[in-house]
Amino acid sequence: MNGVHDLGGMQGFGPVRPEPESEEPVFHEEWEGRVYAMVRLIGGLALWNLDMVRHARESLPPADYIAYSYYEIWFAALRKQLVESGLVTEDELRTGRASSAVSGAILERVMRAEQVRAKPFMTTSYRRPAPGPARFVPGDRVRARNRHPRGHTREPRYVRGHVGTIDAHYGSQVFPDLSADGVVEGCHLYCVRFAARALWGESANVNSAVYVDLWEDYLEAAP
């Protein structure tokens, strides 16, 4: 979707304001850590995948997405996904009290402290069988297709319609546009190099390039 999350090349947000690296805490507020942990642990129930999570965040109302801090976005999307999946009812969210039971099959998957300590990160593989032979090889010129899907996509707006060169083929990996709808299929994934001037015009530094990972369905051969 053409959402406000698709920030590449936008202007007017002001300077980057980095904190000194040595002074930066892991979480700036206690609640941020609690949100992070809830998102990770509920995510571990495997009721939704990463693309669904991303889509839940990027489809928040645009004004909210821009105004919220990072973990406020996570929190709002988590609440939405909890209700949409039926894990929690609107009524429970409002009252804060449980009034519906969770199925035993889901409760069996609840992550425990020892599992978290043994494996702090998910180890999901995103590689999937290829739908067919790869259409492109490194060095090929390709155009990022001018697509505007209403659902989830990982083709940023700033590359659409522009010509680049295949830098690398990363094999066949889960195609995010379908994965966000729960359909998990492989599609060839490439890294595509775009000259900065091709994307940003003459004001861009001539000695810069942007590399973007793009799936084969986002690409067409360019002369």
Binding site: G8, P15, E21, V116, N205, A209
Partner: protein, 207 residues
């Protein structure tokens, strides 16, 4: 977009109350184990972080054979040091040279090599960085006090897939003869994202 720390005497904010309420609800429903929350947060506070990436970079600086392995087969080389998971198994290492400087961003969300660098800093996830890095990387780097000459190519890597990018900064001059453990202190997290070069020995504690 972040908020200032609250005064200890101030009443909890709305978001604090809402987060507490949701956590108690999820615990009551049996969906979240309080001990698992604490365990995960403790890991992040004490173990997970950029020190893993620092070790990888310092080893590559100290050992040419490991550096070649890291560039040719990053996942094998990184796994040999025990760092895996959460796209940590789909890493591509980008070597900075006299001719090329690399910079990593995720314009669409906040993709980042967690097992190597921990959770991303606030600025990495912020709108200004995500908006500017692809269009004006030299301008972004200037905000970190880094100047990249026009004779060096700047390559920006937008993490739009589950591939994860780690910058291998250049080993700074003045650290000849340093061992791997000493070199680690010169590797900043920011240099592995690419917004800065590695530290020079003069600006750090001489071992």
């Amino acid at each position: 977009m972040t908020k200032d720390h609250q005064d200890d005497t101030a009443p909890p904010s709305d978001i604090e109350l809402s987060v507490k309420a949701l956590e108690s609800l999820l615990v009551e429903k049996g969906l979240v184990d309080q001990e698992a929350v604490d365990a995960l947060l403790e890991l992040h506070e004490n173990e997970i972080g950029p020190s893993n990436g620092r070790r990888v970079v310092a080893r590559a600086w100290a050992d040419g054979g490991f550096k070649r392995w890291l560039l040719d087969d990053p996942n094998g080389a990184i796994a040999s040091m025990g760092y895996v998971g959460s796209q940590g198994d789909q890493v591509r290492v980008l070597e900075n040279t006299d001719d090329v400087h690399n910079l990593v961003v995720c314009t669409l969300c906040s993709c980042y090599p967690w097992p190597l660098l921990g959770l991303p800093p606030v600025w990495y996830k912020s709108a200004p960085y995500r908006a500017q890095a692809v269009a004006d990387p030299r301008g972004v780097m200037r905000q970190f006090g880094s100047e990249i000459g026009d004779n060096r190519e700047v390559r920006v890597w937008d993490s739009t897939s589950e591939m994860r990018y780690l910058v291998l900064p250049q080993r700074p001059p003045g650290a000849e003869g340093w061992c791997e453990e000493e070199l680690r202190d010169l590797v900043t997290r920011n240099s592995m994202i690419g917004v800065e070069e590695a530290q020079r020995p003069a600006t750090t504690q001489t071992p």
